[in-house]
Symmetry: C2
Subunit: 483 residues, 2 copies
C-alpha cells in the first residue's frame, strides 16, 4: 500500500468537497444568517486538510494507483468527506456532538437520509442547503464526480471507478472512464434541472425545489421541512417526486440512451422491467390493504400514498408522506423487505439491487433444474447473455455478506438496547441507504435517540451499503496492507 499516493488523491477530493461549500455559503450570505461563519470555518479547515494531504503525497504520480490503493482511496474519501462535511453542522450548533455531525454528513453523502435533527426548520438555509447538497454530491458517487472534474487522474481512474461503482456485471458507457463519468454526471444534472423546474412551476420556492431535487435525484431523503414531503399535502408535488425517485432508482445508462433517442432502452432492459414489476407489486398490494383497511377515504389517495412510500423505500430515497407505522402490518413488513431489494445497478439507489436479486433468483432456478437433470448444463442468463460462474459466485458472496452483516449489526444494535424491530429496521435502513425505518427510527421519528456508539455502527452500515461492501472490507483485510 503506497500511502503517499492515497494521500495525494484524497487531497483533491477534500478540496472539491470544501469548494462546494461556496454554494451554501451564498445562501447564508444573502440571508445574512448566523451560519455564515461556521460554513467559512469549515471550508477553510477542509482546504487546509487538503493542502496537508497534498504536500504529503506531492511527489507521486497518478500512475502508481493500484487496486489496493484504489480500495483505500475510495473508502477513505467517503470518510474524509463526512468528517469535513459534518463540520458546518457542528460549528453551527445544529448537532450537539462530533458523532452526530459525522453521522449526519455520512448519511448525506451516502444518500441515506437518516437524520439526528429533531427540529430541522430551526436551522438557517445555508446549513439546510449544505445538508441536501451532500446528498447530491454523493448520489452519483464522489469519486465519479472527481473523475468527471479531474481528467488527469488517468489510468488509476479506472481502478477508482471500479472500487466505487463495483456493480454486479461490469458496464461502461464508453471505454474511457473519465468520459463515462462525465456522461453520467451530465444525465444527472439534466434530470436534476428538470425536476427543479417541475417543482418550481408547481409553486415551490427555488430553495425548496433545489433541496428536494437533491434529495430525490440522489435517492437521499433529507428535506428542509420537519414533516418531509408530507408537509405540502399536494398531489402534484407527490407525483412529480414519485416519478423522479423512480428515475433516480433506475440505471442512468438507460436514461442516457433514452436522451440519445433510443426510446426502447428502458423496456428492453430486463432489470428495468423487474424493478418496475417489484414497485407495481408493492403499490397494488399495499393499496389493496389500505382500501380494505379504510385507512384513507378514497382509492385515489390510497394509491398516491402507497405509491409514494413504495417508490421512496424501494429506490432507497426515504422521503415520507405518511406514517406507515399506522398502516396494516402487511405494508410495514413489505416496506421493510423492499429496503433489501433497493434500486437498479447504475442508479443512485442502494440496497442489494434488482440486478443481483435477478441473478440470485435465476441461480436458484438453475440449481433446481440441475437436481432433476444432474448431467445437463444449465446456464444463468440475463438480457440474453450467459452470466459466468465467476459473476454468480461474486453475486452470491455479496448476498451472503449483505445478509450476514445485516444480522451481525442488528445484533449489535440490540446490544445497545434497541428493541427487535428497531434493531432490524435501523440496520436495514442504513445498510440499504434508505433512512427511515420502523420503531424508534420510524418515519415520523429520527436517529437522535440512538446511543452514540450505535450512531458509529450505523455510520459504518451506511458506508458499507453505499460502497457495496467489498471495497470497505478490503481495507481491513490484512492482505491489503502486505507489501
Amino acid at each position: 500500500m503506497k500511502l503517499s499516493i492515497v494521500s495525494k488523491v484524497l487531497s483533491l477530493l477534500a478540496a472539491i468537497i470544501s469548494l462546494f461549500m461556496l454554494w451554501p455559503l451564498w445562501w447564508a450570505y444573502i440571508d445574512g444568517s448566523r451560519d455564515l461563519v461556521p460554513i467559512i470555518k469549515s471550508m477553510v479547515i477542509g482546504l487546509m486538510v487538503a493542502s496537508f494531504l497534498y504536500l504529503f503525497g506531492r511527489k507521486n504520480t497518478y500512475e502508481e494507483l493500484g487496486i489496493k490503493e484504489a480500495f483505500a482511496v475510495v473508502t477513505l474519501s467517503w470518510v474524509l468527506a463526512s468528517v469535513i462535511g459534518g463540520l458546518p453542522f457542528l460549528f453551527n450548533g445544529t448537532v450537539p456532538t462530533f458523532t452526530d455531525a459525522f453521522f449526519e454528513a455520512m448519511s448525506g453523502f451516502t444518500t441515506t437520509g437518516a437524520s439526528v435533527l429533531t427540529d430541522i426548520e430551526s436551522n438557517p438555509r445555508g446549513i439546510l442547503f449544505w445538508r441536501d447538497l451532500t446528498h447530491w454530491l454523493g448520489g452519483m458517487g464522489i469519486i465519479v464526480l472527481s473523475l468527471a472534474i479531474l481528467p488527469f487522474l488517468g489510468v488509476g481512474g479506472m481502478q477508482l471507478y471500479k472500487a466505487e461503482v463495483p456493480g454486479p456485471i461490469p458496464e461502461k458507457l464508453t471505454p474511457r472512464v473519465q468520459q463515462t463519468a462525465l456522461l453520467l454526471w451530465g444525465v444527472y444534472v439534466f434530470l436534476s434541472a428538470l425536476e427543479t423546474l417541475f417543482l418550481w412551476l408547481g409553486g415551490m420556492n427555488m430553495f425548496e425545489s433545489l433541496t428536494h431535487t437533491f434529495g430525490t435525484m440522489a435517492t437521499g431523503g433529507f428535506s428542509p421541512l420537519n414533516s418531509s414531503i408530507g408537509q405540502y399535502n399536494s398531489a402534484y408535488f407527490d407525483w412529480v417526486i414519485i416519478i423522479f425517485m423512480f428515475l433516480a432508482g433506475a440505471n442512468f445508462a438507460l436514461h442516457y440512451f433514452m436522451l440519445r433517442g433510443k426510446f426502447d432502452a428502458w423496456w428492453k432492459d430486463e432489470e428495468f422491467l423487474f424493478y418496475t414489476k417489484v414497485i407495481l407489486f408493492g403499490i397494488v398490494t399495499i393499496t389493496a390493504f389500505l382500501v380494505f383497511n379504510g385507512t384513507y377515504g378514497n382509492l385515489l389517495d390510497s394509491v398516491r400514498y402507497a405509491a409514494f412510500q413504495v417508490v421512496s423505500i424501494t429506490t432507497t430515497t426515504g422521503y415520507v408522506t405518511a406514517d406507515y407505522e399506522q398502516w396494516p402490518f402487511y405494508a410495514q413488513y413489505l416496506l421493510l423487505g423492499l429496503m433489501f431489494v433497493g434500486g437498479c445497478a447504475g442508479s443512485t439507489g442502494g440496497g442489494i439491487k434488482n440486478l443481483r436479486i435477478m441473478v440470485l433468483f435465476r441461480h436458484v432456478k438453475a440449481e433446481l433444474q440441475r437436481l432433476l437433470h444432474p448431467k445437463s448444463m444449465v446456464h444463468v442468463r440475463v438480457g440474453g447473455n450467459v452470466v459466468g460462474r465467476d459473476i454468480i459466485a461474486s453475486v452470491t458472496a455479496f448476498f451472503i455478506l449483505y445478509i450476514g452483516l445485516f444480522a451481525i449489526f442488528a445484533l449489535i444494535m440490540a446490544g445497545f438496547g434497541l428493541d427487535v424491530v428497531s434493531s432490524i429496521a435501523s440496520v436495514a435502513a442504513t445498510l440499504g441507504n434508505i433512512g427511515p425505518g420502523l420503531g424508534v427510527v420510524g418515519p415520523v421519528k429520527n436517529y437522535a435517540t440512538v446511543p452514540l456508539a450505535g450512531k458509529w455502527v450505523l455510520s459504518l452500515c451506511m458506508l458499507l451499503g453505499r460502497l457495496e461492501i467489498y471495497t470497505v472490507i478490503m481495507l481491513i483485510l490484512p492482505g491489503t496492507w502486505k507489501r
Copy 2:
C-alpha cells in the same frame, strides 16, 4: 412420474405410522382413559388407507423408483403421516378442527414443536404420548425409519435416502443405505435409552421421562406439561436435557464413531467445533446480559437459563425454562438469529445447518481473496477437503431459497394480520423447525391464535424446513411431472 409405485411405497409408510399407535394405545389401555377409542379409530383408518394405497400400486417393483418418484414419495409420506397422525387429536377432541390436527401432527413429525394446544395437561396420557412419539419417529427421518425396518426397498432406497437427507455434503456411514439407516437408528435408540434413564434416575416418572426424551432426542420440543421443562424448576433435569439436546443437534455419524471407540471423532470434526463455538458464544454473551441486567439473582442461574434457551433454540428443539421475551433485547434478537443457524448436518435438528453456514462463510472469504488477487485460484476447504464449485453453488442456492422463502412466508403471515415481529418469528420458528418464536407465538404462548389459513402456511414451512426445501419444491416443478 409413476404414481403407482409412489402409492405402493406410501402404503408401507402409512402402515408403519399406524402400527406405532399401538404404543400410545397401551398407555390409554392401562389408564382406561377416554382416548382409547379415538386412537383405535385412527389406527384402523390409517391401516385402511395403507391397504388401498397398496392395492393401487401392488403390481410395481421397487426398482422402478427413480429420482422423481423419490421426491414425490418423501414429500407425500410426510404429508400422509401428518394426516394420519393428526387423527387421534381430532377424534379425541384435543383440537377443534382438522387444520389444527394436521398442524399439530406436522409440527410433531417435523420435530418443530409448535403447538395449538392451550391446556396440554387436560389431555389423557395416550394422546400426549402419541404427540411426543411423532417427534421421535420424525426425528431420525420417517423414510430412514422405513429403510431400517424394510430392507427390501433395495436400489430405490438410495434415492429415497438422498431425497429425505439431502445434506450439503454427501456422507454415508456404509455403502449400503439400509445399513446406514439401521446404524443411525441404533445410535438414536441408544442415546434415547440413556436420556430416559438419566431423567428417570432424577425422579421423573417413566411417562414423562419417555416423552421428554422423545422431545429432546428428536430436537422436537413437545412436552406433556403446560410450562414445558420450566415446570420442574430443577437444575438436574435442565442440565441433563441441555446435554442431550446438544448431542441431538450434532451429527449422529460422529456419535456412532465415538461409540465405536474413536474418541476424537467430535473434536476432529470442523462442523462440531463450529457448532460448539456458536453455542458457547450464545451462552456467554446472553449470560453477560442477564447478569448485567440483574434478571436472575446469581451467576449460576443466569448460566443455566441462558444455556438451556440457547441450546434449545440452536438445536431447534424449542423446550423452554424461561420467558425469554422478558430478557434484554440482545438475547431475544440473538435467539431469533440462532433459529436460522440450527443444528449440524446429520443431526435431528433443523435450520440452515452449521456446515452450510461454514461453507457460505468460506465462500465469501475466497471471493474477497479473489478480489485482491484476481488471477489466483482460491479453494474452499472443509475438514481438509476441497469443496467443489457444484457443492458451493448448491449451498448458496439453498441459502438464497431459505432466506427468500422466509421473506415471502413472513409477508404472507403479515398479510394475515400478524405484527412484524410475530410474522418474522413464526416463520423463522417453523421453517427452522424450532417451535416457540416471539410475539404472539412467544415462549409462553402458542400457535392457537394464528388464523386457520396461517396454520396451513406454517405447516408448509415446517415441511419445507424438515426436508431442506429442495425435495418439496421439486414436487411442484412442472418438469417433475413431464414424461
